[in-house]
Subunit: 210 residues, 3 copies
């Protein structure tokens, strides 16, 4: 299973990097300086995992101790500032890897939680938190309503991925297969939602003054 | 004391449910989808308690492991979306149970903290955090200034409730009586403030450009 | 070294008080009541340290158990409300002690983290978090983009202070000297940036619609 672990590591770094890019682009558009951009990039990339680790008692949170994540956030920020036209052209790969990162973070978040507590609810909530927490923190820092709570099947795809992990644990299926299937389902759901513009229904938006 | 514990359980669920309703209504008014509404409802209902548990080292936080809270948030969200006219007519009971939830959360939050640390300050701060933390998180997510920090004797009532618990502990009065008295004081203060429109003074609001 | 410790204690209280003043002034300008002002003042003064303590497993966080910090926040709030003209005339000392508080918090935050974990990255991140976390939380609560992420060499000065602590630990220099040098560097950098209006470059602010 060594190959699989290498694949996961690559996906983890790719997902982290893409999350960092999305944070850096949003911060740059708000006119922040290089430090602010890096801070937001790091928050998006590691924020969800840090909240998860605090909630399951993994002290210190792994996002704070692995210098690779910080390095990825710094590289993403410098790229965003220095090669903005390149980053903009990366739009398609970014959406692709963002969906991959979402899937991976949801699945690894739920799995890591299950290692510490045999409780389905916390695994589902913290799997989702790992996947979408960084984006929510980014939008709080940039002073806007978290779009993740307001967008096409995004958080719901993370929910599906975490759910598959919990169900697989319940039936004691092989961890590797469960994680692979969960990632495929979450990723597929997100890509289908993007392709066909699936949305959850929204209620009386037009009737309410914002 | 079995009956008292049943009463507390009922109040706990009623308070949680009403807090969830208040979150769901606010999220619906911002035009969120069903997922966003549920996420905000859950945050209001459990956010304060989760922050408290992280600060006193109760890992995992009980708000994340008791499926009843999540179920209450989901029911509150579905009700808010599907039966909005009913929920709107619940305005009076909501204010009533919101005050009850506030009292109960302040008192149980302070009591739970005292079980872990014999320190008055942390019990008072975390009692208040349990009671008002969820509402503060709701307003941060909905991108507005926390109204709880800006409204009639609300947080102050929670402070009073937590304070009674700490004083009672100091004089070693019976826990059950102390909690009952603390709830009555907090609840009474809040209802009186609502009835007579008591407010803390506000300073130079009109003079300052926002 | 007893004298040095007295000096640090004085600086710690002065820094906490000035941070609390800055929070109280911002909250007053937003038209909050006395409770809201105190809550924001306490958040600015202790928020960064509480986040740090949660991340390194110091439970309960020391900001929640030392009544002196709460007392300082209350005094700062009452002063801000009752003697606003005095507080406004304190503008220069406030900037001076704010820079001192920043330096001290960055250095003590990084040092405290190193006591628990021998890991440079977490010490740097949490040193900065201690110094600027309270200000970031203040701006989130007041519903604006954290100015700390967007201002003259402020967070960067905190970074420099934390970095010196980590480097000093690596070479096993005397703790007291390292902390003193780190404080001087962080404080000097901040005061120089203020004097000469140093800023990190900002990218395409004018080109982007907000």
């Amino acid at each position: 299973m060594k190959e699989l672990s290498t694949v996961y590591n690559f996906l983890d770094f790719a997902g982290t990097f893409v999350f960092a890019i999305s944070g850096a682009v949003a911060a740059k558009q708000k006119g922040m300086d290089l430090f602010g951009i890096t801070a937001i990039a790091f928050t998006v990339a590691c924020g969800g995992g840090i909240v998860r680790d605090v909630c399951i008692g993994v002290i210190p949170p792994s996002g704070l101790t692995n210098w690779r994540y910080l390095a990825l956030a710094i590289i993403a920020s410098i790229m965003t500032v220095g090669m903005y036209s390149v980053v903009q052209r990366l739009n398609r790969p970014v959406i692709f890897f963002d969906a991959l990162g979402l899937s991976l973070f949801a699945v690894t978040g739920a799995s890591k939680t299950l290692v510490y507590f045999h409780n389905s609810e916390i695994a589902i909530i913290l799997g989702m938190t790992t996947a979408i927490g960084g984006g929510v923190l980014r939008d709080i820092l940039l002073n806007r309503i978290p779009i993740i709570l307001d967008r096409e099947i995004y958080a719901l795809a993370a929910l599906a991925g975490a759910l598959v992990v919990v169900v697989g644990k319940y039936f004691q299926w092989s961890d590797n297969w469960v994680q692979l299937i969960a990632i495929v389902i979450c990723f597929g759901l997100r890509m289908l939602a993007l392709t066909f513009h699936w949305n959850l229904p929204v209620y009386n938006r037009e009737k309410t003054p914002h």
